[in-house]
Symmetry: D3
Amino acid sequence: MRPSGRAPDQMRVITIQPNYTVHAEGSCLIGFGDTKVLVTASIEEKTPPWLRGKGQGWVTAEYGMLPRATHTRGSREAAKGKQSGRTQEIQRLIGRSLRAVVDLPALGERQITLDCDVIQADGGTRTASISGAWVALRLAVDRLIADGKLTADPIREKVAAISCGIYEGAPVLDLDYIEDSNAHADANFVLIGDGKIAEVQATAEGATYDEEALLRLLRLARIGCAEIFATQDKATGR
Amino acid sequence: MRPSGRAPDQMRVITIQPNYTVHAEGSCLIGFGDTKVLVTASIEEKTPPWLRGKGQGWVTAEYGMLPRATHTRGSREAAKGKQSGRTQEIQRLIGRSLRAVVDLPALGERQITLDCDVIQADGGTRTASISGAWVALRLAVDRLIADGKLTADPIREKVAAISCGIYEGAPVLDLDYIEDSNAHADANFVLIGDGKIAEVQATAEGATYDEEALLRLLRLARIGCAEIFATQDKATGR
Amino acid sequence: MRPSGRAPDQMRVITIQPNYTVHAEGSCLIGFGDTKVLVTASIEEKTPPWLRGKGQGWVTAEYGMLPRATHTRGSREAAKGKQSGRTQEIQRLIGRSLRAVVDLPALGERQITLDCDVIQADGGTRTASISGAWVALRLAVDRLIADGKLTADPIREKVAAISCGIYEGAPVLDLDYIEDSNAHADANFVLIGDGKIAEVQATAEGATYDEEALLRLLRLARIGCAEIFATQDKATGR
Amino acid sequence: MRPSGRAPDQMRVITIQPNYTVHAEGSCLIGFGDTKVLVTASIEEKTPPWLRGKGQGWVTAEYGMLPRATHTRGSREAAKGKQSGRTQEIQRLIGRSLRAVVDLPALGERQITLDCDVIQADGGTRTASISGAWVALRLAVDRLIADGKLTADPIREKVAAISCGIYEGAPVLDLDYIEDSNAHADANFVLIGDGKIAEVQATAEGATYDEEALLRLLRLARIGCAEIFATQDKATGR
Amino acid sequence: MRPSGRAPDQMRVITIQPNYTVHAEGSCLIGFGDTKVLVTASIEEKTPPWLRGKGQGWVTAEYGMLPRATHTRGSREAAKGKQSGRTQEIQRLIGRSLRAVVDLPALGERQITLDCDVIQADGGTRTASISGAWVALRLAVDRLIADGKLTADPIREKVAAISCGIYEGAPVLDLDYIEDSNAHADANFVLIGDGKIAEVQATAEGATYDEEALLRLLRLARIGCAEIFATQDKATGR
Amino acid sequence: MRPSGRAPDQMRVITIQPNYTVHAEGSCLIGFGDTKVLVTASIEEKTPPWLRGKGQGWVTAEYGMLPRATHTRGSREAAKGKQSGRTQEIQRLIGRSLRAVVDLPALGERQITLDCDVIQADGGTRTASISGAWVALRLAVDRLIADGKLTADPIREKVAAISCGIYEGAPVLDLDYIEDSNAHADANFVLIGDGKIAEVQATAEGATYDEEALLRLLRLARIGCAEIFATQDKATGR
């Protein structure tokens, strides 16, 4: 029995409010239940120094959590003077996941930065960030196309992410904070619209797991991502 | 003529959504037109080291701006590894303004931290932060009273803040970004519910100003703060 | 009764030793009683990157306090690895105050940096810094004119600053450390030679204040700045 | 055809020199071909502050790369003043992998730190680090047992790690630098002596992958870890 | 011929103004020609954590240079966020030199910090700092004795320092900036009142040197330190 | 009697393994008894910004100690976010010592960086670093000559370094850790192949020393460096 009363393969309510802010080229507020992440896509008409003149664009991400997004207040990374290892690991994952579906040469010599800021946290902030980042990116690229700055669409596919885990011995989909804190294994899957996989990160916590468990978690992830893909479509008017 | 078409003494629409987040003891989303600030109040049942055992509480604030709260993306302070001078100046002002209306010994040996994070910026983020921080603080203290942790109310008064300036030669109330960027003088007033003043910061930009101008700006600020006080009352159920 | 025995509108002894150091283009040691600040003006024949090619110069300031300038030793900011919020707030104020009287295009594409280092502190270090910085700037610009690098004088006016406050219920001029630590309101005024105002920062400490008090403090500031202006004139040979 | 001429399921030569340094409680120099990592285990008879008094021990890891471990010199992290996101990600992975096989309460209130320093790099530094860290940990725990400080063995199982990837369309085992730089998918597997899995991190690079590919990589990893387990046994005299 | 016209064994004018600041327990402004260093001694009635309860005191030093102490402005270390290697090397040398003449157990469980801040630089700032630090320390310890906090004098001897070098082929005493920039060898000697040596740092610059040269420089240093010892005596009333 | 049983003028066993790593242009593992330092020389075909276009090359050094090189684990400088004063002092000394024997204009506009990483420490790490750095530099320059990038040899002489000290009243050569921790004076000598001196750093620890002692230590250093020079010759095939 899950604390929330959900079925093992039941997602929390997924919500995506597109164009949430006025300044960003693309943005959304994505909710996985009580987890709320504000994602903005910012286009800059130049690439980072190490890519200059290579005839391709770049997509990168930054991640942050507001100090009181969590049950008890965490310290502000800007005040501490550095980003935690966890923050850096997450923002590297987000950027990599998005680049998996973007044709960088087709993007042209520009950079799109996805800022994922967690307004409220209840588990799954990195997977909500990836799923929302795709929407913000999609909207920003749509604008580049509408403005005539791009003629071909550099986004090859949709990308979404979800966490699954072994909770009280059973594989469950879309862990909330209570489940996440007590799961024996915790896996994040980044899946592509065509059924392929962009990333699997499956970690034992307390108990190790076997190949069968890995495959059952992957199957749950497919269920969850199908739902996210549908919500992404609606949010981006597809 | 103001770019927004407002009258010289006309505020933007002020909105306050109380209890905006689920974890914080007090919170609100405050809007001054397109400026949106999320404020949370976090109670910790101990004071900072330098106050331990002094029989009083503390109220402090931190301020941040999401990288794409602005027209063009700014760099993330956590990634740069330090808070700008501007950020530190603003968070010191917010904390000081709130402490001006709190009886710290009556608060008991606890600390309340007001986190003010700018979701979207269009001028006046520091005054919106102060005005919203009062609401989050009020809600957090109400909870302490409701929980029986406080018997007397340590908040003596309301506090609100507004910016005024000399724009194209005329004193105007509640500067938006375009006005702020072009004003010849820019003043932030922190006013108390009883008509007293907690802070005046009036800065010449390009042209210096005289005593008469200072007083006219103060009078505009009184008009603006009256409106904010009313909105604060509604948001906190008073 | 003030701890020093001074009358409410009585300044401490103001001293300015011009050309205090041999290397700087302009310099002075300014004393407001026991508060001693060494100010140097350094001319660099280029502007900061964000101003390049804009046909104007820049004036900026840095502020520091020697570790044992105060009653008990403070930690060295260079050793701690960062400047405090207070330091940054003060150096921003100094720079802004000086720029209020300089015609930046007339200065040409060069930068003048005012370094204000507090040798000994007894209250009023930021106002002494501003008042001394004007002298160092004046001397440095005089040298540019003497060297034929400038034909027109880019300094439009004198600028001076003084603190006033409500101490034991009475408005007093030029707070020393004991008064500053116990004042109910603390205001710093940056005034211009022509009677105009460059900056007002008036902060309630413990008790809030009203409009009448603000005006009385401003009147005291005018008395103090008149005396500083006269001392500046003598120090710069005017 | 692999650049090294190896068969798809062929490892590089694995070497482990136990007790490589004189001061550490456990240590080894592990080589995966030209990749050489020096690992030391340091025992401290206290736990980190957040674990004090909880009746359990802790195992953690730090990772570093000598500036010229690589083809071209990289900058020294100590000189830059911070560890890269990559470094932090790797050291978190190493610590987590080792903790997956340690009974922390049985370790007692002590901390063991595994320092993994890459002397020479040719791909696979994180998997060599994990595999070598187990040896250093084993040797350090053996010493605790020999010294009578532990009566029961807190290490439940062996742990080893290996990278696999899709190179020129074919799944291959134990990527060297050239393969790693050109692989279409890159997966790190952390496996347990009993056949279970501690961690899977499988990342698409350029091309996404499917479930079948994931399973084929896992099977290769089992081949590689079997060889590492045997080498670990020899190095630790089992 | 030396640029200043001095004889090879001729010092610049040495000046020491004792009790230069009002707050420090001991202080002086020391001048070696145009080099001016303000030194303060601050007594703290506790030792650093690693010395607690060891029944001895500690003497340490910090060193800084005002940004415009030099011919062209250097950047402020507090603003850059770290002390240079040169600064750290110098402050370690100053602390070590002073500790060479202090009986630390006799000092009791207290720490004395010598802050050496260079107001104006013309070569020899580290040797002026050491020589002035002894005066500030002496005055601070005299106060401890006068206050009855110490009964026995923990200072065993005087200490002074001077630089010598090979300039245009000839050994010369007390290098100024021009000589220092062009010397073929540069040596700093820290000598004790009884004729013993606390530290020699002799560095080849461009040309290496031989044993005979080292001894000739040491002999010059003895001449210079004799003069400094006499000036120290006068400044401390001995 | 020395703890190791060595005669006063007896070195530990000196070993140098040239070409210890595969990527660096020059490298060696140098051992002074249990002290082991890995040194690599990295050639970059450009000079640091402040030397650009000056028609000369540069030689610089960086130094680090693995956390468990020592008896008890030290914290990792990369994790602490800064290099200690000791580290900076040592790396400045290494660079300076090597530059003393290199004709920088003859090196051409390239930089050679010597990375000295202490694998295991038992006293004398800085002198082993200098002695090993010369070997790595020699091998790297030999390669430049072999590749036809240099026609004349820019290395004028050999350089080696050794520590000596007064231990239990007697001058001894090549201090190990136990001696170093208890020596009354500790001197590092950097000597040149032709008998000249590049650097002397002789520090009193506890007891000051006299001129005679300094000379006796220098004589011991000559004995030690002769042995190092011979080992360097063998390692570099001379």
